[in-house]
Point group: C2
Chain length 415, copies 2
């Protein structure tokens, strides 16, 4: 059983908005044992919607559409679907009650434009969207046992609908294979060397297990995907595969079932009851923000200082004025004092510090844009490193953050 996703919206197609809906929908479908055949992004254009729907229905059991359900003129999905299914728009009592409730809660008057949100094609089943005014519409094509669902494009409305309504209804309507995914985080070995090392192992995997390499900043994620009718057998197969993988790359395996380096930091910190502080210049809060985005961060993360100006580096982190004068803010000496200052002043076991020139301006001949110093301090020692990450500001912030997490993971292993 497979699903196609059609994300509708000019804002997606011109790249003004990153399409996060596609990935969150896919994750939910995959976890429920459904295959995603393709994801298509098209404009708010009736002809494009019709022809893409036609095509997706030739190869998919289910087509999920998002977007184009707002009250404004550029939103045409509802009218297009109404024509597509030869239906007519009628006011839906449940949808109208929902729209009224939402406006009452906000204390706004209900206008004609808003009231029109409650009109839906007569042939569909309305799935109530408690978080927004656009109803979710469920269409069944009886002859072919296919389903088309139209959802709003607002991410949190769509996610709530998928989780609480659409996926459970699809599970009920279709009967699907179980899917088990297993992630192994590998660090300190490049993708091609890794591939050489585990080639024979990969070839020996059962045919219902697929391996994917997912390279990310500072690491490679190996993902095993097993598919079959018996969940226990799949679990057994995955366990077996992981067990035979360890002897081949033991020293490079950083963890299992973790999404990224921040999650690995969180796991190691929490498991060892360590505490952490951050002192950030060029990363500007990103080191702290990625860690605190994960639930449970308050167990190990005590706090951080974003020391963007030299005055703040001195007053809040205790970096010496002489050091800043002699070596500058982007230097080994400064970043070392930042890390040790943060560790000391926030009273933590570990601390991370960054100072660099993210650009696009501020570079010199000695220290070109992209020059970054990073320090990681433990109870035993302070490790420092200098990197040159080039001209892209956001990429420099991203790579500095991942490099700092990598250093911290290494330092924790020394303990």
């Amino acid at each position: 059983m497979n699903v196609s996703i059609i994300n509708i919206g000019d804002e997606l197609l011109i790249g003004q908005v990153v399409n996060t809906n596609a990935s969150s929908m896919s994750r939910q479908l995959i976890a429920a044992g459904m295959d995603v055949r393709e994801v298509v992004t098209i404009a708010d254009n009736g002809e494009a919607i019709r022809s893409t729907l036609d095509r997706c229905l030739t190869h998919s059991d289910v087509v999920l559409l998002t977007g184009g359900l707002g009250p404004t003129k550029d939103d045409i999905t509802k009218n297009t679907l109404c024509e597509y299914f030869n239906s007519e728009l009628v006011e839906n009592a449940e949808a109208l009650a929902n729209v009224k409730r939402l406006f009452e809660e906000k204390g706004y008057p209900l206008t004609e434009v808003n009231r029109h949100q409650a009109w839906v094609p007569r042939c569909c089943t309305v799935v109530n969207n408690i978080l927004g005014t656009a109803p979710c519409m469920w269409f069944e094509i009886a002859e072919t046992h296919q389903v088309v669902v139209s959802m709003p494009g607002v991410p949190f409305e769509m996610n709530n609908l998928m989780e609480s309504e659409v996926v459970p209804r699809l599970r009920q309507y279709f009967h699907t294979d179980f899917i088990l995914n297993k992630n192994i985080l590998v660090q300190g070995i490049g993708e091609s060397f890794l591939s050489d090392r585990i080639e024979q192992w990969e070839l020996s995997l059962p045919s219902n297990i697929r391996l994917a390499y997912l390279p990310e900043a500072g690491m490679v994620k190996l993902r095993l995907t097993a598919r079959g009718s018996d969940k226990n057998i799949l679990q057994e197969q995955i366990n077996q595969a992981v067990e035979t993988l360890y002897p081949l790359i033991d020293q490079y395996i950083a963890g299992e079932d973790l999404e990224n380096l921040a999650a690995l930091v969180a796991q190691q910190m929490t498991a060892n009851r360590y505490t952490l502080a951050t002192a950030e210049s060029c990363t500007g809060g990103t080191l702290a923000a990625r860690l605190t985005a994960l639930p449970g961060a308050s167990i190990y993360f005590k706090g951080g200082i974003v020391a963007y100006s030299n005055a703040v580096k001195e007053s809040l982190l205790g970096v010496s004025h002489a050091t800043l004068e002699a070596h500058g803010a982007v230097s080994e000496e400064t970043v070392r004092q930042m890390a040790e200052g943060a560790r000391h002043r926030l009273g933590t076991d570990y601390a991370l510090a960054t100072s660099g020139i993210a650009g696009p301006t501020g570079g010199t001949a000695d220290k070109p844009v992209g020059t970054v110093w990073i320090a990681a301090a433990s109870p035993k020692r302070t490790m420092t490193i200098c990197k040159h990450f080039g001209n892209d500001r956001l990429r420099t912030i991203d790579r500095t953050t991942n490099e700092a997490y990598s250093m911290l993971i290494k330092l924790m292993r020394e303990h």
Copy 2:
């Protein structure tokens, strides 16, 4: 002239990686006056690649592919394209020199797997990818004057190729319309009320100008897109449209040509030569990170404190122990002292502070998960607000951040 984008990769289709390539490619194409017809995401699957390419070539002048060019077994794009164009793989001298250089720079030995990266279909033109080992391959279909380009899926390699090679070559190969985009940031009015107010204006726009509503956290972006052969006429039309829009919604227009609230904060801070500090608990560094992600932040942003623990709220921000005891960390009193403490200790004109329960745990009957206090302090006064953002941790962080920026923008207007 229009372009289709095919993003290839199991990791995209199962949602493990958000497809940011699509949006960054689209932005570059649109800015160069090209239309994006559709974006398709498919698996590392030969049949899917062939059939999607077939179809996209029925409606598009150019098809850009990303992904599936790594050295591992799951990467099959190159072989599939070689068959598709009835060609054969040959070693390319320029690509080999590039691979060798990259390995020498890193000090790694060149393996057979890596060397194979330099093999390409004989019929293509190699576009050198100086940032990675996978060559970019340019195919021309002479009879139909169509172009197919295959690029690596690693975002920074792809972005560099698009900017420095692919887009310029496409501009040379095709002759395209000019496109002008204009964004107006609207704040403090809902999408449907806005739509009611400007309906007549929208209907009166010239037929070559399109309006889109892009609602985002805390605001609505209005985007005008003009297309035509004469850049000066387009600019004139856009100016005219904007001029007639102002009288209709003057009090709600927050700025022009800004991507988000962080950019608006940056613009207002810089234009007025104000300075800013942040004191964050539940947003954990996000307030600072989004501002410092924008170039030039060091002009107005002095620094911030991520005060995740109560001890840090006391020691670094001067929140009184008695206040924390009496009212708790998530309270009007605490967040007010955090903002004023940050403003005072970092010596800035303005300061923002957040304290809340992002969840998923930590809520109480009095203060359920999602309860957030926000403060904005100016030289004149401190403004506070309490919000209830619900159970989604990342959404609460996001909405708190945008609400804080909104408060700061309001406070700056009082000056």
